[in-house]
Amino acid sequence: MDKRMTIDEVVDRIPNGAKVAIGGSSISRKPMALVRALARSDKRDLTVIVDVGGPDVDLLLGTGSVSQVIYAFVGFEVLGLAPHFRRARQNGTVDFQEWTEYTVMAGLDATIKRVPFIPTHATLGTDVPKVNTAFREITDPFNQEPLIAVPALAPDVALIHVNYADIQGNGVILGDGHVDVLCAKAAKNTYMSCERLLSSDELQRFGRDVQVLRVYSKGVVEVPWGAHPTGCAPDYRTDLRHLQEYLKAASSDAGWQQYEADFVDVNHRQYLDNHGGAEELVSRLKV
C-alpha cells in the first residue's frame, strides 16, 4: 500500500483535542516539520505526550495549540530551560502531568499489550505520585509490598521522524531509537516523516535498523531536514545556533511574533529558505 502523503494531509487527520505522542528526545530527531505544521494549523486543545520533550513541546505551547502536556522532561539540554514550557508551568495556563522516562514507556507499552496498567517501583519515595493523579499506589498481591500502577497511555496519533522509510511505512532509524517504536505501536494512527524515501528492497538491506514496521504506519512523508532544528544522526547535528535564536525570540512577544512569521507560519521550503537554504544548512550541520 502506498502511504505517501503531504505534511498538510497529516495535519488534516489530527482532530482538535487529539492525544498526540511525539517521538525523538529533547534536541534529537524530533518530527519538527510535522510539529511546525500542526503548530501553524488551527488545531487546538491537543494533549501532547512525550518522554523527553524539547522544541516540539515548547513550540506547540508557544502557539497555544495545547491544553495538556504529559512528560518526563521538557528542556533544551545544554541550552537550558524551555521558555514557553516554563512560562506555562508557572502561569498554570495549561494542564501538566509529570511522568518519568520509564513510566511513559510503560504507559505506552500497557496500551500496546492491552493491559490497564504496568506495575513498577519507579517513583516510590519521590513526589511524582503526589502530583501525578493518573498514577495509583497498589499493593503487590504476592508480597503485599507497595507498587505504583502506571496506567495505559493511549495516543490517538503518533508523530515520528526517521532517516529512511519506504512508501509502505517501514522506517529505518540509524541513530538512537528513543521511544519512537513505542509511540508507533501504541498510537491509533502513526504518521512518519523521513529524510529520504527508499525502495522496499533498499530498505530491507538495513536489517535490524528497520525499526518501524509498516503495519503500524498510516502515513509517510518525505521531508529532508524534517527534524531541524533538532538533530538527525547521522544526517545532521542539532542546529544550536537556531535554537539560541529561538530562545532569544521567545523572551519577548515581538520577538516571538517575528519567529512565528519567519519559521512557523511558512511551509517547509520557505522554512529552509529562511535559513539560507539547504546548502547553508549542509555547511553548518553535516558532520
Binding site: 498554570g92 509529570e98 519507579a122 519521590t126
Partner: protein
C-alpha cells in the same frame, strides 16, 4: 603517580567522580562532567566499565563530550547500539551508573530537577524528573555532583523530590536507589550521617569545614577526628581529561552570562570539525 603541578576545580571534581566508579556497568551521561568522569575511570580506575557515547547508546566507544550529547557517535559502526529498553533494563537489574547533576539536593539526599517552589505554582519550573525516579528506586549506587556548592543548592529540604533520598523516602524501597555520594567544588560527601543524612567524606585541598557549613543550608555532619583531604588529580588524570575534551565543553558548565555565550559559540563552531576528524564518515555497512 606524581601529582599534577596545577589543576583547576573542574579537574579535581571530574577526577573525584571517576574514582567512585567501579565494576562492569553501563555508564551513561547527559553532561560533559559525567562523560569525562566515565572516560577517565575506564582509562585508569575501572577498565570493565561499558561507557556509552550518547545518553542511551554507543556502548564501548570512546565518548567525546559534545554540545549535542554525542548524538553522532553512533553513526560509524564503532560502538554497540542500545535501546531505551536496554537502558532501563540495565537500571532495573542494577547494571547501570550515572552521575546526576541536580538543581537541589537536601540533607537526606533527596534531589530536585523539577521545580523551585511549589510544584503547582512554581517560582521556577525546571525540566521534570526525567529518569531520576527509576535510578533512585533501583540502583545500588547513586552518584550526584554539584559544581557550585551553595545554601540554595545544598539545603535542608528540596522543594520537590524528583529523586528519593534517605529517611522516609525509603518507605517501600528498602535500600534500592539510596544516595551514595555527592561531589561538589568543596568536597566529597556520603549519606552516612545520623538517619542517613549527609556527612563529610573529604574536603578538596584548601577547603575548610567552616566554608562547607557556610555554603550549606543545614549543619553538615562531620565524623570524629581529622577530616580527610580529597586525593588530588595526578598528572595522568589531568592529561587524559584535557586530551578527551579538546573543545573544553566541560568549562561551559562552570560559566554563565556573556562569557559562557562566547565560549559556547566558539565550541559549537569547532565541534563539527572535531567530530569529523575523530569520527570520519565511513558510513554504515549496507548504507546506500
Amino acid at each position: 603517580m606524581p601529582l599534577a603541578p596545577e589543576f583547576s576545580v573542574d579537574e579535581v571534581i571530574i577526577t573525584t567522580m571517576a574514582r567512585q566508579l567501579h565494576g562492569e556497568m553501563l555508564v551513561s551521561s547527559v553532561t560533559a562532567f559525567g562523560s569525562l568522569a566515565a572516560h577517565l575511570a575506564k582509562r585508569l580506575y575501572a577498565p570493565d566499565l561499558a561507557v556509552l557515547s550518547t545518553p542511551e547508546s554507543g556502548m564501548d566507544v570512546t565518548p567525546m563530550p559534545t554540545l549535542t550529547l554525542g548524538q553522532f557517535l553512533t553513526d560509524v559502526q564503532q560502538g554497540i547500539p542500545l535501546t531505551m529498553e536496554d537502558i532501563f533494563d540495565a537500571i532495573f537489574t542494577d547494571h547501570f551508573r550515572i552521575w546526576i547533576n541536580p538543581s537541589q539536593i537536601d540533607q537526606y539526599g533527596n534531589t530536585n530537577i523539577t521545580a523551585i517552589g511549589d510544584w503547582h505554582h512554581p517560582k521556577v519550573a525546571l525540566v521534570g524528573s526525567r529518569g531520576i525516579p527509576e535510578d533512585t528506586s533501583h540502583l545500588s549506587e547513586t552518584f550526584y555532583y554539584i559544581l557550585n556548592h551553595s545554601p540554595r543548592a545544598v539545603l535542608a529540604q528540596v522543594d520537590f523530590k524528583s529523586g528519593a533520598g534517605n529517611g522516609e523516602s525509603r518507605r517501600g524501597l528498602g535500600s534500592h536507589g539510596a544516595p551514595t555520594a555527592l561531589v561538589t567544588d568543596l568536597g566529597v560527601f556520603s549519606f552516612t550521617g545520623p538517619g542517613g543524612t549527609m556527612a563529610v567524606n573529604s574536603l578538596h585541598p584548601g577547603v575548610t569545614i567552616e566554608e562547607v557549613q557556610e555554603r550549606t543550608g543545614f549543619a553538615v555532619y562531620v565524623g570524629a577526628g581529622e577530616v580527610a583531604v580529597t586525593d588530588p588529580p595526578t598528572e595522568e588524570d589531568i592529561r587524559i581529561i584535557r586530551e578527551s575534551d579538546p573543545l573544553e565543553v566541560r568549562k561551559l558548565e562552570l560559566m554563565s552570562g556573556p562569557m559562557a555565550a562566547e565560549k559556547f559559540v566558539n565550541i559549537y563552531e569547532r565541534e563539527r570539525q572535531a567530530l569529523h576528524a575523530t569520527y570520519p564518515r565511513v558510513g554504515k555497512f549496507g548504507r546506500p
